[in-house]
Symmetry: C2
Subunit: 348 residues, 2 copies
DNA sequence: TCCATTTCCGGGAACGTTACCGGGAAATCC
DNA sequence: GGATTTCCCGGTAACGTTCCCGGAAATGGA
């Protein structure tokens, strides 16, 4: 059977004894057809093992049934989760997903966008490289932004995690654990996410009547090495008996924990670390990394939903911010009065 | 310009003053065209911002420029790396990749294969769910197997990691570190990978003149919890002063380390663990997980290369096994005579 | 019974590209 | 210089589907 020509809709029509128009109507369950002939056509299709040619459908109808996803790196666990969510949701909608990794590189991003346009995808979900604003507008296809760079682009739908809520969650948790003056370990100054994180911190400080300037800051790359280096600098400058760090990224947080251990300090006894992302690797460190988890999979799902709306013309240009979740694992000491009190009472 | 009709090849032809056949020849750089007219056409295409419609190309020529990738889970770090490699190589070949996750589920796999057929992909790279052998043969498209189930399918190209070499590497390393009788922590009996791992162990034992039956075995699920449970059982049965475990999977290995810690044992002082996979999370445990890394990204790349050959009719049905690599991090104690001797001499 | 309406179906034209065939002009050969 | 080849190029027919239009049959109401 390997060499036999592929069955087309005219084969189905012939076998069912109808015209190809009627066959097409039956196969795309259009309303203007009698149930009897519809069944006849469907039976013929099943008997022949007919499979609709999506290329031809896409060409004639303009709907290719394909969506594009352009993210920094599919091998990054966070983005892999996003891709998984998008993929699942796309499959539910009967669409396929073309996935591309940009590596934070303009040229790669541009090439991928061109490939997607040529493939005639119906829309694209993209986490754009920093300042490729113009390219996106020239793009001429429905698109939805995903991730942290949403707010730089007005009048476009976007899906991201709720940094404000996440930072509030984190700082309130730190306060409740008795850490009143945590170090903020942030990313490089040119990254958009940094400013957004910092703004959320400021807003929250004002709400809580705290002076934002009182929180010390240390910068580093968004990597384990960057976190290690930043933590080393912190330990040089801060000789407090207990040091608390709120890292803007789990990899940095893990690097910070390693740096503390290298300096002979124990976590969480002498050093407390709070991460941000929720990567799976955080569960394997010792102690496990307490962190704020971004809803990566849900992000991917919602992005597809927004994109489908956008394609359908229901372009509400909505900005969706999904809430984050605290995962307590053990990298944070409880220095609250309650905890200290109970410990003292135990000693008594 | 958003509403302007998309440019087609006839627009390009008109602007260049040639027929659309000639324009097509220029754009698909066919040989039978003079350099002068070719340049003219290309200039016109550039000026109009023409982009070739791949749907139409695929429909007419049969070459859609798309490849399929069906893996268990794109959110799994190992498979994400594979996907990344495949994606990069496909992009180099001018192809796009449709990625699907099967979740080790027959129905999902079947649905995805159908979607890929309907999308008219030129070929598929697949890590098939255990016994879906027949489905694959009925598939009627070029395909390449990736991962551990290769050898169950005769006469098909496959790309996988070299388990035999990996096991030899691991066991020889364990021997060199003085671990002569490691526990083997294997996956569930119904998994194909288990049998393959065990066979490699047997072969190597015969080479080294060791009785394979002398190596104790404990089974568990391929997860952190599975490894934890298996390790707990091992610790109940084995009261040796130092216990060594060779896990068939990094997640199990990490679970084993956690179980040892829960039992009050130190790694690597009292417990040595060797993993297998090379997932990024292994770098964050304490101590870092010493493991054998599978060349995930290269696997993806080679799979695409094999698939391209397969599609081109150069079907050599090659089986490719890529070598694995040892990553030393610290979860293994050196109990070799040399190490013990030097330690004793230090004491003197 | 007759006209109007609805229901259902067939015929043909697209969609944008490449494959194939044939032909004119230039180049080459004896 | 005529015959033959080579080199380019244009015209036309596909590829498989959906969309639009018109018409036949069935249905409804007076």
């Amino acid at each position: 059977m390997r060499g036999s020509r592929r069955q087309t809709i005219v084969d189905v029509a012939q076998r069912a004894g109808v015209s190809k128009s009627t066959a097409a109507r039956a196969l795309s369950n259009a309303p203007e057809i009698s149930p009897a002939t519809r069944d006849k056509v469907l039976a013929a299709a099943r008997a022949l093992g007919y499979e609709r040619n999506h290329l031809a459908v896409g060409m004639r109808s303009g709907r290719s049934g394909m969506l594009g996803l352009v993210i920094p790196d599919i091998a990054n666990p966070f983005w892999a989760e996003v891709a998984r969510g998008a993929q699942d949701r796309a499959a539910d909608a009967g669409a396929s997903l073309l996935v591309f990794s940009s590596d934070w590189d303009h040229d790669r991003e541009a090439r991928h966008l061109q490939a997607l346009r040529q493939a005639r995808v119906e829309g694209v979900i993209i986490n754009p490289v920093a300042d490729s604003f113009d390219d996106l507008h020239r793009f001429g296809l429905p698109f939805v932004l995903i991730g942290s760079s949403a707010e730089r682009f007005p009048d476009t739908s976007s899906v991201g995690s709720d940094i404000t809520q996440a930072v509030r969650l984190g700082l309130d948790y730190l306060l409740s654990m008795g850490h009143r003056r945590p170090w903020l370990m942030l990313g490089p100054r040119w990254r958009i996410a940094r400013a957004r994180f910092l703004r959320a911190v400021n807003d929250h400080c004002l709400e809580r009547d705290v002076d934002p300037a009182s929180l010390p800051i240390e910068d580093g790359e968004y990597t384990v090495e960057g976190g290690h280096a930043a933590m080393t600098r912190i330990l040089e400058r801060d000789k407090s008996p207990h040091i608390c760090v709120f890292a803007a990224n789990d990899l940095m947080a893990l690097g910070a924990m390693m740096a503390a251990r290298d300096a002979g300090l124990n976590c969480p006894e002498q050093v407390s670390v709070l991460g941000f992302d929720g990567i799976p690797g955080g569960a394997f460190s010792w102690p496990g990394l307490t962190t704020i988890e971004k809803p990566a999979r849900a992000l991917g799902r919602r992005a597809v939903e927004s994109l489908v709306d956008e394609i359908a013309g229901r372009a509400d240009h909505s900005r969706i911010y999904l809430p984050c979740r605290l995962i307590e694992r053990g990298s944070l000491a409880d220095l609250s009065d309650a905890a200290v009190g109970s410990r003292q009472s135990e000693r008594v």
